[in-house]
Subunit: 442 residues, 2 copies
């Protein structure tokens, strides 16, 4: 049974269809011209960070690996391409046998990146590499955008945990990837069950206003919730009057009440009042969770408030103003002929318009100052200077078509925390500024 | 075989996991309290349009219907929920038998909406309706945001066709939904093969800069492309020097060349120059396609340029500054008891903070002026005034759990064009403003 038979609204038979039409027409033309097999190097990078951002966060790498492994043109896909006349029979034959057999290098997932950083490099024949452009960019652009926002929010939140709850504000499967990216960026938990299923991210949640409104008054609702979910649950206290709700909450659950959640109003003021009220009622261990349209600035502004956790939705899944990274996938070198031993020639677009880039296969390293703090992102296409050999960033992810660098999400999350901690302190300033370290081309 | 066995990076075993954790804990608590079966009415609406927007566009309805039909807790999902301890055994039993058996009404897909418009209404037991909150909002919030941007771009483009090419800028499956929403909003074609497969949207594309760079010069590249794809193809002319490329393009393909594409630089200026050059070369029927970081404003500014089609990526799939609609799913009425004949009681959140809303099941109608132009969105919870009975907007989409209003995408697309045409002319002004018609509560 193919996926399509399941009738899900998300059906596609394989990851090979997450591809722009022109990748296949380019393949067809190159096959006919005898250039399709030229050894090629494509690099993924961004010309600039989103305006005012100090650093980017590589996220989606693990999803790219899954996708490349499953990039297959099966009968369903080929039938579609034939019926639509997307490409000719010779090309369809070629696609039927397609398996990516090349190499992929990249910044390890969770690393930070800067303008020009070669966050991923794909090497193989032109034909096998060009097909992966769209899906690799989709994944990295989406996931990195969310992870960057998450990282800023995590910086702002300090030790207080962040709950990802944006599923309802983005495409239902983008939500799953967003929860993953948020976790990498430093979030602790998510509301999204699919991301718990798919990636093992801890899921949390207790109740919405609808639950209170369903019942004949807040007391009934709270009692129903505590009876079922226990005293450690989180009661939502802003359906009617917050002060009365907090009083009722402690009356019903006792001082063992786990937490109260505030989802509207002046959070700074209300959090202070609720804390005082909880303490007066003896519920000194009851936590306060706030969840109303937060972004990194709102989180930072609540630093002085007695808040124990933040739930973030819209602004997280939409990248806090920057819903996509601007990564591109560019051919930077290719062989002079289809001969596998032909030397590589650096190539680059040269016309005006700000879209030029540097040709040639590139190395990248992060230079540190005497205190071990990042000082520059150094990028070059010649030999790597001796003092930077050990500071190189790209690692091999796929070797001859085989994934060689799969890793648990917690490793990625820890790597991000370490990478961010290795940047100059101003990296975590929320105000707009330049990239926190310059990119130097050698 | 479950979807999960296919190893796709997008795997989830059913749409039932596109759900926030708290929907299930609310269900558990309501089951225990005996309130889960209270008849309930949930409405989807937005309190405001994105800043400055004149109207919203309902999109995603068809995907909601697919999703609700496939919302099932199968063994894989139940096993996950049990293992994680999300809910208790009684609740798992209930979920195993879950089929939505209620009614759904909504604005027909493609319709326009305004603040307060009840774009969807879900009726049934609290239990069966509350579970659908997250996924319904995910779909409508994402798809409507993209459709609204598409609609503005289509207005700006007038008769010139728009090509959706944003797949690389958004999550790979959000891209499929985005192409669908763009088509509803007025786009003609897409680059995204998956959306062609899934929704039958026409796909297009020819080549990227990588194709030119692969070859030993532009002449070789153009010849390879024309040899394979024919003279009617679109040649990309801004890899090196545009003037030289246009000359070569016509030399290689002849005046029958289908089109040239310009992807960088001052599009207004270059389009004029290229048009003159093409005409001088006798290629008077060769079209000009522009594709560089366009949004509705850039499209409008090119109205006087000799441009034949626009390709739009980033700004389309990110909703042109508003990547999500702010729709919410609120309990507006519920029965006094679990008795199926118990009367409905209007309910609404009442605390401060701008998140209050109007309780009660609502009707909605669009009042027209004497010229047949929309004049007001009229919403009420009492009887429908006689003069508005025939102008009511919601239609039944699901009846007793059965989808009753599936329709082809072209019908939806036509409906949107008609709905937009029925608004005051100022609806299509791109400048910021108030909603083009007021919402009146009766």
């Amino acid at each position: 049974m193919g996926v399509a038979d399941l009738g899900l609204p998300v059906d596609v038979p394989s990851t090979a269809l997450f591809t722009d039409h022109y990748e296949l027409t380019m393949l067809q033309a190159a096959l006919k011209a005898g250039t399709a097999e030229r050894r090629s190097v494509f690099e993924v990078f961004t010309r600039r960070l989103p305006e005012g951002r100090r650093y980017g966060v590589v996220a989606g790498t693990g999803r790219v690996l899954d996708t490349v492994e499953n990039f297959r043109f099966d009968a369903g896909v080929l039938g579609f391409l034939r019926e639509r006349g997307v490409v000719d029979e010779e090309t369809l034959q070629w696609l039927a046998a397609y398996r990516f057999g090349g190499d992929v290098w990249g910044y390890p997932e969770g690393e930070v990146y800067f303008p020009g950083s070669p966050v991923m490099r794909v090497e193989g024949s032109f034909a096998e590499c060009v097909l992966l452009e769209t899906v690799i960019l989709s994944i990295l652009n989406h996931d990195s955008a969310v992870a960057a926002a998450a990282s800023r929010m995590a910086s702002a939140a300090g030790d207080r945990p962040l709950i990802e709850m944006g599923a309802r504000r983005t495409h239902e499967l983008a939500a799953v990837a967003a929860a993953r990216a948020a976790y990498i960026g430093g979030f602790a938990t998510t509301s999204d069950l699919a991301s718990g299923f798919r990636y093992g991210i801890p899921t949390v949640g207790t109740s919405a206003h609808a639950f209170t409104l369903l019942h004949d008054g807040e007391r009934d609702a709270f009692r129903a919730q505590v009876d079922s979910l226990g005293r450690g649950t989180t009661l939502l206290v802003d359906t009617y009057d917050v002060t009365e709700a907090v009083r009722l909450a402690v009356e019903v659950a006792g001082p063992e009440l786990g937490a109260v959640r505030i989802d509207s109003g002046d959070l700074l003021l209300i959090a202070h009042r609720v804390r005082q009220q909880l303490d007066r009622l003896g519920a000194t261990d009851t936590k306060i969770i706030v969840t109303s349209d937060l972004d990194e600035y709102a989180i930072a502004s609540l630093r002085a408030a007695p808040v124990d956790a933040y739930g973030v939705g819209t602004q997280l899944v939409t990248g806090s103003g920057h819903p996509t990274a601007s990564m591109v996938y560019k051919l930077v070198a290719r062989a002079e002929s289809a001969d596998p031993k032909a030397p590589l020639v650096p190539v680059a677009k040269r016309s005006s318009g700000g879209k030029t880039s540097m040709g040639g296969r590139k190395w990248a390293a992060r230079r540190l100052d005497e205190h071990g703090v990042a000082e520059a992102e150094v990028i070059g296409s010649g030999p790597v200077p001796q003092e930077l050999v050990d500071r190189q960033l790209p690692v091999q992810l796929i070797k001859g078509g085989q994934v060689v660098a799969r890793e648990p999400l917690d490793v990625v999350r820890d790597r991000h925390a370490a990478a961010r901690a290795g940047l100059p302190l101003s990296a975590t300033q929320l105000s707009r500024g330049e990239p926190v370290i310059p990119t130097e081309y050698v």
